[in-house]
Structures are given as structure tokens and as C-alpha cells.
């Protein structure tokens, strides 16, 4: 923004604003640069030291792998014959959860943000409260529901025996099912939809599109940024999810990548270089995913005709 010539006396606050305007970009660049360094450093050092022999785990040089060795990576792959299987399992589970959760959370969030219905505030508050109970104590009951059932041997009504659980122990579906919606996601989408102006939807409603039509034809497209943000967070969360799959999955063939790698970590805990190499194996696929998503992320902003950030 250029300072336009004015005839009015330039006040102190105007000068301050001008100064800020000029200094703003350099300041931002410095902030960004420093934080970027901080963000890269841990993973960079991890990479460097995973490429060094185990014995050199605390030795200089810090910034490049010398002596160089691929032994750690070879060991990770060699020790884990099921590695491709775990990668596939992780991919499938994360993908399924992401697709379903984004859709369901967008729907739920939209209902909370835009519609009036009985028990709305109660349900919303109940959802918030459910986020506040730490997972350690709901682990066992959740496990009962997804696996063996609340009542051992099933609910008996006369001749009939009804299962009280889904029986999905050691089954990838057992990992997916409770994850298809999340209170976090609905809360996030609710707050997003509240920050978007209503005008576009109201126009669509006037045209007689109805709620569902408006939602799918108008709301979903204009909220692409948030949907992709949620998708990204969900995918990342599911990819790194540890405790729940660990509880549900039993046989090594069904493991996801973090659980499989944790097996590796449990065995090689004294050899940090190898553990570092294993950790990068877990991080790399999700990084690649992010790079791909990143493109859509910026595209979607352009496509919606909203602000070009």
C-alpha cells in the first residue's frame, strides 16, 4: 500500500503505520526464516545421523553424514519383511477414515453452524465434553464395543443371542469404525462455517435447492480449503495413530506402520541410529502426501474465487 499524498497534517500514528507498512515484510521474512530453521533442524539432524554408523551417534560433524553408511536403513528393511504390508494397511486405513470423516464432519458441522433443531446446544456441549475425557479411561469400554462385546457371550433374549459388540478384533475395520467421525472435526467445521458469510447459501436456498442440495452443490465447494485442512489433519492423525490400532490389531500381518515400527523400536532401543532411520520411514510417506495435498490446497483457494492469499 503506497502512501497517497494528503493535505492533512501527517499525525504520529500515521507515521507509525507507514513505518510498520515498510518494515512489515522484512520482519515477516526474518520471523519466517528463523522458524523455518527451527522446524527443519530436528528432522535434518535425524537424517544426517541415521546415515552415520551406530557408533557415531553423538560424534561431530553435525551437519553432514561423515562417515557415511546406509547400514541402518538396510537393517530396518532387512528386519521387517512385513514392511510393505504395513505400509499398505496404514494407507488403506488412513484413506478410508479420512474420506468418511471429512464428509461426516462437514455435514455435522454444517448442521450445528446453520440449522436450528431441538437439543442443539445440548448436543454441541455434550460433544465438547466428550473431548475432555482423557482416552486412557475410555480405552477399555471402546475396546469392548468394537471387539468382544459389552456383555460376555452376547445378550440373550430367549433363544436369540444378540452380539453386544462389533466383533472387529484384529480387523482393520475395527480401527476405522470409531474414527469415521470425530468431535474435533465437527467442532472445527462448525467454527469454520460460522466464520463464512451466509449470503451465497441463502441465494441458493432461494433458488429452491433445499438443504442437502445447497450443502453438496454450494457449501462443500466453497469450503474446500477447510475440508482439505481437515483431511490433512485426519490423514496425519490416523497415519500416526498408535494406541487404538495397537489395542485392536493382534497379528503382525494386520499391523499398521507405526505399530510395526514400534516392534522394531522395542528390539533396537539401544541403537538410536537405527531407530532414527525407522522413524524417517514412518514420516516420509506422510510428507509425500503433504506435498501432493499442498498443491490442491493452494489450488482450491484460487478455484473458489475467494481471497487469493
Amino acid at each position: 500500500m503506497k502512501a497517497s499524498p494528503t493535505y492533512r497534517a501527517v499525525t504520529f500514528s500515521d507515521r507509525l503505520i507507514l513505518l510498520l507498512e515498510k518494515a512489515k515484510n522484512p520482519i515477516f521474512y526474518v520471523v519466517l526464516f528463523i522458524w523455518a530453521l527451527v522446524c527443519i533442524a530436528p528432522l535434518y539432524f535425524t537424517l544426517v545421523f541415521s546415515l552415520k554408523p551406530v557408533a557415531n551417534i553423538y560424534d561431530e560433524p553435525l551437519f553432514f553424514p561423515n562417515p557415511f553408511s546406509l547400514e541402518n536403513y538396510r537393517d530396518v528393511i532387512g528386519a521387517l519383511p512385513l514392511f510393505p504390508r504395513w505400509l499398505l494397511n496404514s494407507m488403506l486405513i488412513s484413506f478410508a477414515v479420512t474420506c468418511l470423516r471429512v464428509l461426516f464432519c462437514a455435514m455435522g458441522g454444517y448442521a450445528f453452524a446453520r440449522m436450528e433443531f431441538p437439543f442443539k446446544n445440548f448436543l454441541f456441549n455434550a460433544m465438547l465434553v466428550s473431548m475432555m475425557i482423557p482416552g486412557q479411561v475410555t480405552l477399555i469400554p471402546s475396546f469392548l464395543v468394537v471387539g468382544p462385546g459389552i456383555i460376555r457371550g452376547g445378550l440373550k433374549i430367549g433363544e436369540l443371542t444378540l452380539p453386544t459388540g462389533f466383533g472387529l478384533l484384529d480387523n482393520p475395520l475395527g480401527v476405522i469404525l470409531p474414527g469415521v467421525v470425530s468431535a474435533f472435526g465437527i467442532f472445527m467445521m462448525t467454527q469454520f462455517y460460522k466464520s463464512i458469510p451466509k449470503e451465497l447459501e441463502e441465494a441458493a436456498m432461494m433458488d429452491g435447492l433445499g438443504r442437502f442440495g445447497t450443502f453438496f452443490k454450494v457449501v462443500l465447494p466453497i469450503s474446500a480449503t477447510q475440508l482439505i485442512t481437515l483431511a490433512l489433519l485426519t490423514f496425519q492423525g490416523e497415519w500416526n495413530n498408535f494406541l487404538w490400532p495397537l489395542t485392536v490389531l493382534r497379528t503382525p500381518e494386520n499391523f499398521t506402520l507405526p505399530i510395526g515400527l514400534n516392534w522394531f523400536r522395542g528390539e533396537y532401543y539401544t541403537l538410536i541410529s537405527k531407530v532414527l532411520a525407522g522413524s524417517l520411514f514412518n514420516t516420509l510417506p506422510i510428507l509425500i502426501m503433504f506435498f501432493i495435498f499442498q498443491r490442491y490446497f493452494t489450488q482450491s483457494i484460487a478455484a473458489t474465487g475467494l481471497k487469493e492469499g
Binding site: I17, C39, Q294
Partner: protein, 321 residues
């Protein structure tokens, strides 16, 4: 007169029908969530609530013992002076003495730090700067890595001979010194969460229509004014979201502590969530009932904090606004 009254009841009827239709539609939208919520969340929380009134060691069925679990969690008598010959306390003072103060300290430091940092980052990313995409990817790096993995990396980086000490020429035993361990974990949390929060805030920022800024500029508002009068108010729901999630995350901080310090050295990093885990699974004499009771005490605290927070980020909290 009669016709208008009739029209009015008609209108009333129509309005009521519309209301019903809307409620039905809303529940349609919410159906998948409610299904999971009812089958998992409600049951899981109800079951945990029941357990909080029992003594339960996982190996044999729970025994009901009323509020005794809550008494042992709070253990208020630990704060009272005791006679020397009074015998051992029959409760656990770890919550009141260590876990609760630690958790509050943690939240008070981490939540403002991560929110302000991610706000600055999001504003910067929202400017017309070069290499924006590159920066965004880099900033997201710490959030991508799983908390367990990044904790392992931090253990190694912050070990006495580790890279951090080598670069800065320090000789600090970060994770084994009770004066540093907790702050190291706080640093890790700010580091890992800021990327995610930046992304959420950025998505919020980018959805503020340009037209509003343009209109403001026409009215002669400068950038600072539009920041204050447009950006911040428009962003309020999203900021409320970020702060709420941050508070909940801080009160429930577990992974990093579990991996890095297991509550030590000398309980200096024992938080409420870690204590719940310790009671529920780690101790040889498991105290699942007490752990459940503590979970509800924690939930109450979080609820209170969230409510206070709503007052501060006022108006944006309630759904009906």
C-alpha cells in the same frame, strides 16, 4: 378480520412445518456422528463414570465403593498438618501435590505460546510473500511427525552429549534435571502443535472475503484498523477453536511425557493425564477406578476453563450466535 386470522394460523402452521423439516434435516446431517457418538462415546464415558465409583484392578470384576475413589484422588488430608504417629495416609497425594500444579503450569505457558506463535505464522503466510508454499510445507514438518517419533528424536537431540548442547556449547542434562525437563517438553509441544494450528488459522484467514477488506479500504481504514476491526472479529470462531483444542490438548498431554520422562525426574513432569495412565495400567496394583475418577475431575477442570475462555473470546462460543 377473520381471513387475516386464518392466514396467520396458516402461516403459523407453515412455520411449524418448516421448523420440523429443518430439525429432521439437521438430524439427517448429524446421523453418522450420532451413530458413533451413541455406540462408542456415550457408552465409553458412561462405563468409565460407573468405574469411577468402584475399585477395579482389571483382573477381577469391579467392586462398588461409592465416592471413596474420588476422596483418594483429591486426597485433601495430605494438605493438612498430620500428627507424627498418625500412620500412613490412605490416599494418593500425587494429584494434589504434583500432577495438578504441573498441568496448570504447562497449560498456562504452552497455550498462549502456541496460539500467538501460530497466529503470527498464519498472518505471515497470509501476506504476499515469496516462497510461501515452501515455508508452509516447512512449518508443517514438525506436525507431520508422530508424537512418539518426535519425542524419541528430542530425547536424542537433548541428551547431554546431544546436538543441542553441542551447537550451543552447553552442558545441560535437559531431561534428567528436574529444573529443565518439564520446560523441554513444553518446548516440544509448542514446536509440534504450531504447524497444525497455523494451518487451521490460515484456512480461516483465507476465507475472509476480499470484498470486506476492499470495502473497508474504500472507507479509509488502514491495514492496522482492518486487522483489528475485520480480521480478528471474523477469525474469532476459529481462534476459539484453536485455543479450546490447545487447552484440551495441554490438559491431556501424555505421549511426550510417556516416551521422554515417564513422569520423572522426581515427578517434575507428572501431569494429570500421565497419572491417569500410571494408575490405570502401569502400576503393579492397578487402580482403574481411581484413574476413572481422576479422569472426571480433569474433565470438570477443563470444562470450567473452557467456560471462562468463552467469556473472554466472547460471543463466539455458543452455537446459536
Amino acid at each position: 378480520m377473520a381471513t387475516t386470522a386464518l392466514a396467520q394460523t396458516d402461516r403459523h402452521k407453515a412455520a411449524r412445518r418448516r421448523k420440523w423439516r429443518e430439525a429432521l434435516t439437521a438430524y439427517g446431517f448429524l446421523a453418522p456422528y450420532l451413530f458413533i457418538f451413541l455406540t462408542f462415546t456415550v457408552f465409553a464415558i458412561g462405563y468409565a463414570f460407573y468405574l469411577s465409583f468402584t475399585r477395579y484392578n482389571l483382573l477381577k470384576p469391579p467392586e462398588f465403593w461409592g465416592l471413596e475413589g474420588y476422596r483418594r484422588v483429591l486426597c485433601l488430608e495430605a494438605l493438612l498438618p498430620r500428627a507424627a504417629d498418625a500412620g500412613p495416609l490412605v490416599c494418593d497425594d500425587l494429584f494434589i501435590r504434583k500432577a495438578l500444579p504441573n498441568t496448570i503450569l504447562y497449560t498456562v505457558i504452552v497455550v498462549p505460546a502456541q496460539t500467538i506463535l501460530s497466529l503470527i505464522l498464519a498472518f505471515a503466510m497470509d501476506q504476499n510473500l515469496r516462497f510461501r508454499r515452501l515455508f508452509r510445507t516447512i512449518f508443517y514438518l514438525p506436525s507431520v511427525t508422530s508424537s512418539v517419533v518426535i519425542s524419541i528424536i528430542f530425547i536424542w537431540l537433548f541428551s547431554p552429549q546431544g546436538v543441542v548442547n553441542q551447537i550451543f556449547g552447553l552442558n545441560i542434562n535437559w531431561l534428567n534435571d528436574k529444573n529443565y525437563a518439564f520446560y523441554t517438553i513444553m518446548l516440544l509441544n509448542v514446536f509440534t502443535t504450531s504447524g497444525t494450528m497455523m494451518l487451521i488459522l490460515l484456512a480461516g484467514l483465507q476465507d475472509i472475503p476480499v470484498a470486506i477488506y476492499e470495502a473497508a479500504a474504500m472507507d479509509g481504514a488502514n491495514k492496522l484498523q482492518s486487522l483489528w476491526h475485520i480480521t480478528i472479529p471474523m477469525l474469532r470462531p476459529v481462534i476459539f477453536f484453536v485455543v479450546t483444542v490447545g487447552v484440551i490438548g495441554c490438559f491431556q498431554v501424555f505421549d511426550q511425557i510417556y516416551v521422554m520422562t515417564a513422569g520423572g525426574p522426581l515427578d517434575s513432569t507428572t501431569t494429570v493425564a500421565y497419572l491417569i495412565y500410571k494408575w490405570a495400567f502401569r502400576d503393579t496394583a492397578v487402580k482403574m477406578g481411581q484413574a476413572s475418577a481422576l479422569a472426571f475431575v480433569l474433565a470438570l477442570i477443563i470444562m470450567a476453563v473452557t467456560m471462562i475462555q468463552r467469556k473472554f473470546i466472547e460471543g463466539s462460543g455458543s452455537v446459536s450466535s
